[in-house]
């Protein structure tokens, strides 16, 4: 149903509105215009500042401005992006590069229409008190790694010849905090700050960024079915551009962005802490807008690196050709003036 609607919209699509500057006032909450193209978007985690740009783009009416009525599906842990993409339940999804490559290799014909992330946020953390100060010290130890996220740590341990037992953990770091494991993984923009706000000072922790060890697994990108990219390029372009504008607005007005995140989180009955979300938004800005530059480019070498790790670890059989994977739209804003 959604696909048909999208096709219909494409047939009588209007050219995207000229993006204005950042003074889009938040429109009154009226019923969305029926002439807007209905779009569904699936984030890959619960309401967080990780998705502030999308929330902002929706609530500030940017999607609307671009002629779309976007529904942001509240993520539940049992959702699988590949299922929903295959079924056409969703138009666009955000995903990390490795997960998307896996999806592609498993037969879901998705394409990357915009690569937002340029640097991996993944890290390993140890307590100084555990004595694990270098990668070598990890040899023979246990590492708590979230299920589904073993790829990167395995690659790291393999690269440096480390014999580390990977203990799958859920979404918290409590096993690490309670000294069940001496090593744990974390996102710089999320769990690392939670560790700090569980009572550890930065000088009490050792950090190991994957990107610093030559394992720059890129993260957020926007994906849709190749078919859609082909048949409705206008929608894809609009979605990406509107999303970028939403992100810029979020970076420019972080407190307002956090307000939205808190609202969404409360709606989903999730615990939410403003200072944590603020940290997350600030780190996203550091990771995704280094030097304030906007880019949606995916370098082939980064793609090949991630894909080769997947292949070498046996998670995919063959590397899907880059050309079949990366089909970026045109970004109206190439370079954003430095603030």
């Amino acid at each position: 149903m959604v696909l048909a609607g999208a096709l219909l919209a494409a047939a009588c699509s209007r050219p995207p509105a000229v993006p204005s500057e950042n003074n889009v006032a938040r429109p009154a909450k009226s019923a969305p215009d029926a002439s807007l193209r209905v779009v569904t978007f699936l984030p890959y985690w619960v309401a967080n500042a990780q998705f502030a740009g999308y929330y902002m783009a929706k609530e500030a009416g940017i999607y609307e401005k671009y002629g779309m009525n976007v529904e942001i599906i509240p993520y539940e842990p049992f959702y699988t992006t590949s299922q929903m993409m295959k079924q056409g339940t969703i138009d666009f999804a955000a995903s990390w590069l490795v997960n998307a490559i896996e999806m592609k290799a498993s037969g879901v014909d998705i394409v990357n229409i915009a690569q937002f992330s340029t640097r991996s946020s993944l890290m390993l953390v140890t307590k100084k008190s555990s004595g694990i100060g270098t990668l070598q010290d990890m040899n023979g130890k246990k590492a708590g790694i979230w299920t589904g996220y073993e790829l990167q740590p395995r690659a790291l341990f393999k690269k440096f010849n480390l014999n580390v037992e990977i203990v799958p953990i859920g979404s918290t770091n409590n096993l690490f905090l309670k000294d069940g494991v001496p090593i744990t993984n974390a996102n710089w923009f999320d769990e690392y700050h939670s560790l700090i706000n569980s009572g550890y000072n930065p000088d009490e922790l050792n950090t190991f960024f994957f990107a610093d060890y030559g394992l720059n697994f890129l993260e957020d990108g926007i994906y849709c079915l190749a078919e859609k990219r082909l048949q409705d390029p206008g929608l894809c372009t609009d979605f990406v551009n509107a999303t970028e504008e939403g992100w810029q607005m979020a970076y420019d007005d972080p407190e307002k962005a956090i307000d939205l995140v808190v609202e969404y989180a409360r709606k989903m009955k999730l615990p939410v802490s403003r200072v944590h979300q603020r940290w997350m938004l600030d780190r996203y800005r550091d990771l995704y807008r280094p030097k304030g530059k906007v880019s949606i480019d995916l370098a082939e070498k980064d793609y090949l690196f991630a894909a080769s790790v997947l292949r070498d670890s046996g998670q995919i059989a063959a590397i899907p050709p880059f050309k079949s994977f990366f089909h970026p739209v045109e970004l109206k804003r190439k370079i954003y003036p430095a603030r």
């Binding site: 049992f78 299920t147 859920g170 096993l175 309670k178 700090i196 706000n197 569980s198 615990p271 802490s273």
Partner: protein
Amino acid sequence: MTFKFIVFIFASVAVVFALIVLYNYSISKAIVEKNLRANAENLTRKAVAQIEKVLIGFQKIPDNYSKIIESTDLTKASMLPILKQELISNPEIFGAALAFEPNVFGDGRKYYMAYYFRNRERIEAKILDDGQYEYFTMDWYQLPKELGRPDWSEPYFDEGAGNVIMSTYSVPLFRTVDGRKRFAGILTADVSLDWLEDIVGSIKVYETGYAFVISGNGTIVTHPMKEMMMNETIFSIAEAQKSPQLREIGRNMIRGRESFAELEYRNIKTGKMSWIAYAPIALNGWSIGIVFPVDELMADVNRLFARIGLLGAAGLVAILSIVILISVSITRPLRSLSRVSKKIAEGDFQAALPEIKTRDELKELHDSFAYMQDKLVEYIADLKETTSAREKIESELRIAREIQMGMIPHLFPPFPNLSELDLFAVLRPAKEVGGDLYDFFLLGEDELCFAIGDVSGKGVPASLFMAVTRTLLRSVAQQDGSPADFVSSLNKSLSDNNESCMFVTFFVGVLNLRTGEIRYANAGHNPPVLIRRNGDVDPLPLAPAMAVGASEEAVFAEASIRMEEGDKIFLYTDGVTEAANGAMEFYSVERLLATLARRSPDSPEILIQAVEQDLAAHVGGSPPWDDITMMAIVYYGDSRKVPPGPPAG
């Protein structure tokens, strides 16, 4: 001076007061803190005991049931009823679960979990074994498994339980396989933390104090600010409030430390400075904190402090008033005295001194002033008397001068009808009255008697003697006789009653108008100067003689000279020749003669003026020491004869 004095005293007293009050305050605060610490410890330990009692109560249930289950053969048939029973028998348990390791039942299944829970009045069951619920990495399963011991979970919200904060107590289950203990699965009990909220919420600390609980990760479990609960950790709050103190407190709390009202910080509920007491809840690694607002605890002390402050201020005001009063009581009479002094200085000697009633230094000062005032009045009265006496004498002296000047002939020209001679004379007494004299008068038609004299001394005594001399001269000259006779008579009379031993140098001459002959007698006087018509200037030759009045037996000689027509004779007293300038140089006879020679052709009046001028030039500004007398006579010859030439003049 007063102002400085007042300010200094006031400031000193104020400082002393302030120090005392501050000391009192700090001691009081220390006392309050000491008491507080004891109370805080009691309160905290009591709360911990209460909480742990409840927790133990909860723990016992799964602990016991785990034993029961372990003792079974671990089949579904045997375990599930036990699980259900756990729930039935224990209404405070909301839900209970059994979750197992893969293939525990030997049926190759990876997952098996049974969950019983309350749904309104009923107990419902859920079996999760199809992999949709991956529980192996859930904290409630993994932590007790990895840690090898029972574990209380981090608090969480459970929608199904009606949005209540819950915590799950998980107990690891073991079974013996091949003689070794093997981990088999987990037994859980979900309990609501309502009771925790009740216990903690009921801890009353004065008006605005409160208690709160944080989990082992610092998550706010219960707190009077409900929005904090579950959303924030104590560290995220510390971050939001930029309070490193709060972060430190949090770190101490999660590390299981205890402290009783030793730390002050700004509490997050009211932002007021508060003491905090905290202690660990060892059973689940959580911690309780109790907040004691400083201002409430210190309320009594602060009130006392305020009261003392007010009293102190009132005291200061009183002291200030007294100091002002005292200093004014000193300075007012001083200022009064000063004013009266000015009045006295300006001439109001009767000005009334201010009354001083006290018997102190001020009274002494007053008495000195009064004494001074009386003495001043006396002195001035004396002075007035003396002055008026002196004025009287001066005025009498002036009258005496007039009389004296009236005695000597002072009309010039004296004989306008006589063409035989011209005469001029001046007498300048050094004081009001003097001892010099000159006189001239006609004897019959043909003779002019002239005299000059100088009484010893000056002033009133000399003038009286001079008056006597002059009177006597006039009287003896009326009798027949020569100038020598005259002088002798004078001498006898003056020597007679001369108790004061005064004398007068004297020169008397008689000029015959027909012949121009002058018969003269001298008694110790300066020789007159004869100025001939041709300009020769010579002192008359005089025999040495005593002054008149000195000795009764003195004898006086007589001599004579002849004046030609146009000749002049100049008489003077030694006040002329002995007139001294500032350098004590006398005018001298030589200079007199020189002047006379220079002005020889002049008339007597002009001549005498010239000598006076020259004398004045010599003396400069020095006051005259002696009386100055000069007389000049010019003889024109017998008028009955025709004069040869015009008279000089």
